[in-house]
């Protein structure tokens, strides 16, 4: 089965240092199957015109293809109506759209609740909102749900963190660093009991390629994710919101396609969802997102998860046997493993692995508050996708041996470690058991 899937991905045809690339940076972005690539080409070759504008046949064709992907997306996440599905350019834009539009309703004293595990895209837009409101004399506070030593959200004080002033709750479904799958539906239910008017947002950017997204089960009000992390083109983001809420929100960007009529004095805004899609959208890439959804559905989350979690378990076992390796995050996780080799900076690890055609991520993973909470400046990260195989893990582990050779960690020379040993919350080391990905998370 997997050999067929690998045959679908042209990136594997290219050789790096004489080898196929062991691409282990899927949490950052995924490679594209041939059907997605040819759909982009086909859209430009055969079906390209602006959408929602021309009365000529080609424009209608482009519009139909574009709108058919909205329908597919609607079904993919279990939404009621395609009016609730908005195309943006990425999860970041989806979350900025919400911070901007929802933000206009906040009053002084209101609170926004996020977590220490968020990607910068679910932190910075809220910080910018707080700044904007402050210039209007409204003081709004951002609170953070902390993490525990297992690298899970610490919910022991949730009833204190949520107050009647909490107006927005925005959480990631899966951590892009630790792989932690958060019990967001449970958190939302608890939070809404205390703050019924609260708006609940789920950042599903990391989760959408690995587990079935069901907005009803998540019991959220808004959901954001990106096509490029689930085998679709880059430049296509998704925002789902409850129609009633979207209807009440002001538009985000103003311009073409988001209006019904414009006079010199004012504009009447378009119906949902187009009210939120100003300007010519990313037509060809939206069209090519259709085959990406079909690809994921054809393979199915059961098989995707089985492959990815087998590899995660195998990689964790191989890493955990090494006394120089520290793994971060819970035993029960998605297909993301962050770790450090004692005495070697992540950039050096990734650089050396690159010479062996093994692609891993190094750095702060756009989650610096989480890095601070763990007490590390940076980490190495491997993350799996549908096309990864056991040999990728073996080559990664063999590459780590080379790293240790280069840095002479196999010898008894004493490495001086800079800036270590400061007060840091070390996550439990004995936490490396990986179970089948929990479906209870939803």
């Amino acid at each position: 089965m997997l050999s067929n899937i690998r045959a679908d991905f042209p990136f594997l045809d290219r050789k790096y240092a004489g080898k196929q690339l062991a691409y282990l940076d899927n949490a950052s972005t995924t490679q594209k199957p041939g059907v997605v690539i040819s759909a982009v080409v086909d859209a430009y070759k055969n079906h390209y015109a602006n959408v929602h504008r021309g009365v000529y046949g080609l424009s209608q064709e482009a519009t139909e293809l574009y709108e058919s992907v909205r329908e597919k997306t609607t079904k993919f996440i279990g939404a009621k109506s395609s009016r609730e599905v908005i195309f943006t350019k990425n999860t970041t834009e989806s979350l900025n759209l919400l911070a901007y539009t929802l933000g206009q309703r906040l009053n002084g004293g209101d609170e926004i609740l996020i977590s220490d595990m968020e990607h910068h895209s679910n932190i910075v837009p809220w910080q910018m909102l707080v700044e904007r409101l402050a210039t209007n004399g409204k003081r709004v506070k951002i609170k953070y749900i902390p993490i525990n030593r297992q690298g899970e959200l610490d919910l022991s004080n949730l009833d204190k963190l949520v107050t009647r002033k909490t107006k927005i709750l925005s959480l990631t479904l899966m951590s892009n660093v630790l792989g932690t799958i958060n019990p967001v539906s449970k958190i939302i239910r608890v939070a809404k009991k205390k703050a019924p008017a609260l708006i609940a947002i789920v950042d599903a950017a990391q989760a959408s390629a690995h587990m079935k997204i069901d907005i009803a089960a998540l019991s959220c009000d808004f959901l954001a994710f990106s096509a490029h992390k689930m085998y679709g083109p880059s430049g296509v983001g998704l925002l789902w919101g409850k129609a009633k809420l979207l209807y009440d929100l002001p538009p985000f960007l103003g311009g073409g396609d988001m209006i019904l009529s414009v006079t010199r004095e004012k504009a009447t805004f378009n119906e949902l969802p187009w009210k939120f899609e100003a300007g010519t959208p990313n037509i060809a890439d939206v069209i090519a997102f259709g085959p990406a959804i079909e690809f994921v559905q054809k393979v199915g989350f059961a098989r995707i998860s089985k492959n990815e979690m087998d590899l995660t378990k195998y990689a964790v076992e191989r890493l955990a046997g090494d006394p120089l390796v520290e793994i971060y995050g819970p035993g029960n996780r998605g297909p993301v493993i962050s770790f450090n080799i004692d005495g070697v900076h992540p950039h050096d690890v990734a650089s050396i692995l690159s010479d062996f055609a093994v692609a891993i991520r190094s750095g702060h993973h756009c989650a610096q508050p989480l890095m601070d909470a763990i007490g590390i400046p940076a980490a190495c990260r491997v993350s799996f996708g549908v096309y990864n195989i056991k040999e990728d893990v073996d080559r990664f582990i063999a590459g780590l041996r080379k790293v240790k050779e280069v840095f002479k960690l196999n010898q008894k020379s004493k490495i001086r470690i800079l800036n270590r040993g400061s007060s840091r919350l070390r996550l439990d080391r004995n936490n490396h058991r990986t179970n089948e990905m929990s479906r209870k998370a939803q």
Partner: protein, 121 residues
């Protein structure tokens, strides 16, 4: 991999001028936004000369080794000479080939040192 030659690793393991100068006349922080690496350079400047220099920080072998080598190069030099240091000079004493993705690591310390001119005017 050629980059990780013995000399570089030696600078990484035992960086020269590592630590804080207690009465520095100028302190410059530099952050690599790509990875969050940080260096802080401490300078004692008198008569338009760098009398002493040290650094602290947290970074990869390339950024720490470059900081170590660069600090050694600029010690005792006039600000005029230091202001003329270029990326090419840094790459020359680093020796190996630096992949584009790692240039930020290699230039982190140079970026800090380049700020001296603006900050001492």
């Amino acid at each position: 991999m050629d980059l990780y030659r013995e000399e570089i690793l030696e600078h990484w393991k035992n960086p020269l001028n590592f630590g804080e100068i207690s009465n520095a006349s100028l302190v410059i922080d530099q952050i690599n936004s790509l990875c969050g690496d940080e260096v802080t350079f401490y300078f004692k400047i008198a008569d338009k000369k760098i009398r002493d220099v040290s650094f602290t920080g947290n970074g990869c072998a390339i950024s720490i080794a470059t900081s170590s080598m660069l600090s050694e190069k600029i010690k005792g030099k006039s600000l005029k000479v230091v202001s003329k240091l270029t990326g090419q000079d840094v790459l020359k004493f680093l020796g190996g080939e630096v992949a584009p993705a790692r240039l930020k690591c290699a230039f982190l310390s140079l970026e800090a040192v380049r700020k001296i001119g603006t900050l001492t005017k």
